[in-house]
């Protein structure tokens, strides 16, 4: 299948979850694969909130449970509405191993090791400058003065997509279609974590918070328990943050860390790492996407494959599974005779049939719903004010309706309330 000068069947750019999943799948099928990663080690440029859904990844890496760096299985889900020093929460507990916490740096490193064990080559400290494009077809990569050719390039470079932009294959991402995640990882002993959060050994909590900790900015906060640390951070939408942010973004994370209702959970901790990363917030299928072309495929964050429902984020499993499908597309295109756009278009079909695009289409109204500012400001206030009147009733307990009226003070009409409720339940 190779002409002169071709060394690899496939070059994968980026050893994150998408890239390594593609490379691992191809290597296992006998393709000669090269993964290039700009970081010093695979994962060293990766960052996420803190939780991974296991099943899609186990389909790609069957030995996930055996050797992957799983910190804690999430057995507790908590969603909190915060307003001042009041918090109303919804908590779910169930002991099924569906999602786990980890450091993405560790998980990516583990995935890259699987690639090597399957026979793929992973080179780190390689920053790709450009794709080699001839007659509209991607032929390989350029690193400094070196050129490496392959039949196909799988772009898993991450959300910033500089290579795709430089090759003129994709427009620059705009602020309305990206979020910014910033987190602190706080060291805390295993015993303190399990005691403070009421967890059994190896159990974890995923905790999402909305309300005035974000000063009314659309976005939210998260807390995940790792083995012996917690990941504490925020996600803001760039478009609205650009217009409305009044303080440096680190202050928002700090307010979370010092929040009187939260700090008791990690008072004894200390900061281990501070990190930031962009998150795709595309509206599917309104944004035209270039997921394949002559000689290339795009997977993971670079393809905008992430679902944010406000109460859960699915990025790593989408990335991993899209890499897996990209590898299947390459295999199929190979059997059809080459890596033309037409042959690689099977990738789009595979994505459409998979849970990834089904989910993104199903929840296509979620991004719009999350722009409703009452969700971040007024409703957390309202719920806490009602709860306060009911639970802090000293002699006489008000009826819920009266508590609502008193808390609402006429600020929101029934029509708006019902419309918002309808929008939320219809969107997510």
């Amino acid at each position: 299948m190779k002409g002169a000068g071709y060394i690899f069947d496939a070059i994968v750019v980026g050893a994150g979850p998408a890239g390594s999943s593609a490379a691992y799948t191809l290597a296992r099928k006998g393709f000669k694969v090269l993964v290039v990663e700009r970081g010093r080690t695979p994962g060293s440029k990766n960052m996420f909130g803190g939780r991974v859904y296991a099943d899609p990844i186990r389909e790609v890496f069957p030995n996930l449970n055996k050797s992957a760096p799983i910190h804690r299985w999430v057995t507790k889900e908590r969603i909190s509405m915060v307003s001042g020093e009041k918090m109303t929460s919804l908590e779910f507990e169930g002991k099924k191993n569906v999602s786990f916490t980890t450091y993405l740096t560790e998980l990516s490193n583990w995935m890259a090791k699987q690639v090597e064990e399957a026979g793929g080559i992973v080179l780190t400290e390689i920053t790709v400058d450009n794709f080699i494009v001839k007659d509209g077809r991607v032929k390989g990569i350029r690193v400094g003065n070196e050129e490496v050719f392959s039949d196909v390039v799988i772009d898993a470079e991450g959300i910033n997509r500089l290579l795709l932009e430089r090759a003129g294959l994709i427009p620059r991402i705009t602020p309305n279609y990206a979020g910014l995640g910033v987190k602190e990882v706080i060291k805390l002993s295993k015993e303190d974590i399990e005691k403070n959060f009421g967890l059994g050994s190896g159990e974890g909590i995923a905790w999402l918070l909305i309300g005035d900790i974000m000063e009314g900015l659309p976005g939210g906060a998260f807390l995940y328990t790792n083995k012996d640390s917690i990941s504490l951070g925020i996600v803001v939408m760039l478009g609205s943050a650009m217009e409305r942010m009044k303080e440096h973004i680190s202050r928002y994370v700090e307010r979370l860390r010092l929040h009187p209702l939260l700090e008791k959970y990690f008072r004894e901790g200390r900061i281990m790492e501070y990190s930031a990363h962009l998150v795709p917030e595309y509206v599917w299928p309104a944004i035209p996407h270039r997921l394949y072309g002559d000689g290339f495929l795009v997977a993971g964050d670079a393809a905008g494959l992430l679902l944010n429902l406000g109460y859960n984020f699915r990025g790593v499993d989408f990335a991993s599974y899209s890499g897996y499908l990209a590898a299947q597309a390459v295999e199929k295109a190979h059997s059809l005779g080459g890596m033309s756009a037409e042959n690689l278009s099977i990738y789009q079909e595979l994505l459409e049939k998979s849970f990834i695009l089904r989910e993104l289409r199903k929840f296509k109204n979620a991004p719009k719903m999350r722009k409703n500012e009452r969700l971040y400001d007024f409703y957390p206030y309202l719920i806490n004010a009602i709860a306060d009147k009911i639970f802090h009733a000293k002699y006489e307990t008000p009826k819920i309706m009266d508590a609502f009226k008193e808390a609402n003070k006429g600020r929101i009409g029934w029509f708006t309330l019902i419309r918002d409720l309808y929008e939320v339940s219809r969107s997510i």
Binding site: F48, T124, P175, K183, M242, K246, M272
Partner: protein, 103 residues
């Protein structure tokens, strides 16, 4: 490798971004991977980079935005939000830049 300071989480005063960043490690490139076109930058009123760069690489001195690339976390936010398109942002060369370990 910088060693994490014994900064307890509970503090009375806000921590400086620099102190928080002290917990991270970098292999700093010799050449900046960020360039700012100061002509274009001067035209910008809101300067969202001052608030949104998580590493506070952009600071206001007088009316000018000064930037440093050394503490960059490579999120790419500045490039996306810059209203004047004044920022050229590249991936740092081979292995340079931020090196996350626990994220």
């Amino acid at each position: 490798m910088s060693v994490a300071k014994d900064e307890r989480v509970k503090k009375e005063k806000p921590m400086k971004v620099d102190d928080i960043l002290n917990n991270d490690i970098w292999d700093v490139d010799y050449e900046p991977h960020i360039r700012v076109d100061s002509e274009k930058c001067r035209k910008c009123k809101n300067k969202p980079c001052l608030y949104l760069c998580p590493a506070q690489c952009y600071t206001l001195v007088g009316n000018e935005v000064l930037f440093s690339y050394e503490g960059c976390l490579e999120c790419g936010t500045c490039r996306v939000i810059c209203p004047e398109n004044a920022i050229t942002w590249n991936y740092p060369v081979s292995g340079r830049g931020i090196h996350y370990r626990f994220s």
